[in-house]
Amino acid sequence: MPEPRPETLTINMGPQHPATHGVLRLLLELEGEVIVGTRPIIGHLHTGFEKEMENRTYHQNIVFPARIEYLATFIEEMAYVLAVEKLLGITPPPRAQVARIILAEMSRVASHLVFLGSSAIDVNVSSGFMYCLQDREEILDIFDMVSGQRMMHGYYRIGGLHQDLPEGFEARVRQIAEGLAGRVDEYDSLLTDNLIWRKRLEGVAVLTPQTALAYGCTGPVLRGSGVNYDVRKAFPYGGYEQFEFDVPLGRNGDAFDRYLVRMEEMRQSRRIILQALDRLPGGPVRLDDRKIALPPRGELVRSMEAVIHQFKLVSEGLHPPAGEVYAAVESPRGEKGYYLVSDGSNRPSRVRVRAATFNNLQALPAMVYRGFIADVVVAIASLDVVLGDVDR
């Protein structure tokens, strides 16, 4: 940003500001109320994930991804676990795969609900916020039931899942998925048709496809600008190639299109969940390889061998071959990738987290140029930033 000109007013938005969805700091240069310069300052939530993960074993690292992007927790865990599995060259059992997809799509819905809720409160529809969070609670209840935690599940394991899905899981997921269509329709009529909502979002924070590509934007931000790229379709992972779903695209690249894309994605997630429930296979949920996955609990009392495996795997961790992989998933915010470099030891020698919002956020100055302060709020909301993901 050039030196502030005398006739402009520089205001500092954040790092603690209600609209920045966390600890993002923006230096806005204003002419009146028109923005002529934006400088995002990030790093206020830098947690040192990459370094931390390089100092833990592959198994211990399972706890970290969900804390990086804390809104799409299951998708995050999936990304990391997939990366390690790719490094090891293994595939989890089919039941685990489908269960992961169900949980990932539920996570996506939960995350989009937070997006919707926080966008709503950013333009002061506090009720919409409450309804969205209440719907999310229903989903979190299922997560709690499955993993014992609402947000930081630690449920996925390298080579499968921690334990089988609980009793009554399918029925409850189905019930929520069935009800989801009505909920999304209700939000549609509460917000989409609302004149003020449209006026606030339409034509605001426009992102052209060229700019989006230049900044490496992904996810709904990119698709809102009309570029068809969804990791689930382009580089299918974890069994997504077996499911039918559409990738919604926007046309104008404004905040309204991104909002619509996310609304439609919730409907598509519902489709995937229902399909996955129909074809959820039986069988084990963890690989039967004692070098990778812990033995079943029951064996510990019967077999000395199992106890030895348990001790070895816990106290040493697993040892993938030397090499490097990049595994990406489609998180609610875009392409989330884990780039793991192994030197053959029990710790990754390099963990790189490719954060979708880091790239998306770079496009913010271009999006809000010559907009109003109020548009910045909408733009940040429509980017759906998670600062944990940006700063890592």
Binding site: S147, Q163, V314
Partner: protein, 157 residues
């Protein structure tokens, strides 16, 4: 003009939606009086469980210490003596501390425990006026009687 009419109707419909909620009962859980029933798998406060006969399960193997990503557990093992047979193995945990403020409730310790001693219970009300008050020691962690943690004391692991 028809556009204006449609828009006004949309605004009114928004009002109707929120208005409808006014007549629904609140979903609020009246927390301190009504405790939320967490899922059976819920990972809350830790317990060191006992067998049905009251013998402690923990053998002081320190696998939980090793696997803990936050290193929130500290165990000092001691030999069992014929006079004082605390656990079934050769050793038992002489000291067992968990720093609840470091623990992230991931459940890895429970998974790693070969005897099923450490379990994550249902209690989530963990708060204190000082950091030290949240370092739980063995007397606080050991279940007072078999099954107090809510887990079947007769289970194998």
């Amino acid at each position: 003009m028809p556009g204006l009419f449609k828009q006004s109707v949309a605004l009114l419909r928004g009002l109707l939606i929120t208005g409808r909620y006014l007549f629904r009962p609140p979903v609020t859980i009246l927390y301190p009086e009504v405790k939320t029933r967490v899922a059976p798998r819920f990972k809350g406060r830790h317990w060191l469980t006992r067998y049905g006969d009251g013998i402690e399960r923990c053998v002081g193997c320190e696998l939980c210490v090793i696997v803990c990503p936050a290193q929130a557990i500290y165990v000092r093992a001691a030999e069992n003596t014929p006079e004082r047979q605390v656990s079934k193995g050769e050793r038992h945990a002489d000291q067992f501390q968990i720093n609840m403020l470091r623990c992230i409730f991931c459940g890895f310790c429970e998974e790693a425990c070969p005897t099923g001693s450490i379990v994550l219970g249902q209690d989530y009300e963990l708060a204190g006026y000082s950091r030290a008050s949240l370092i739980y020691t063995k007397p606080m962690l050991t279940e007072p009687y078999p099954g107090a943690s809510g887990r079947d004391p007769g289970r194998e692991v």
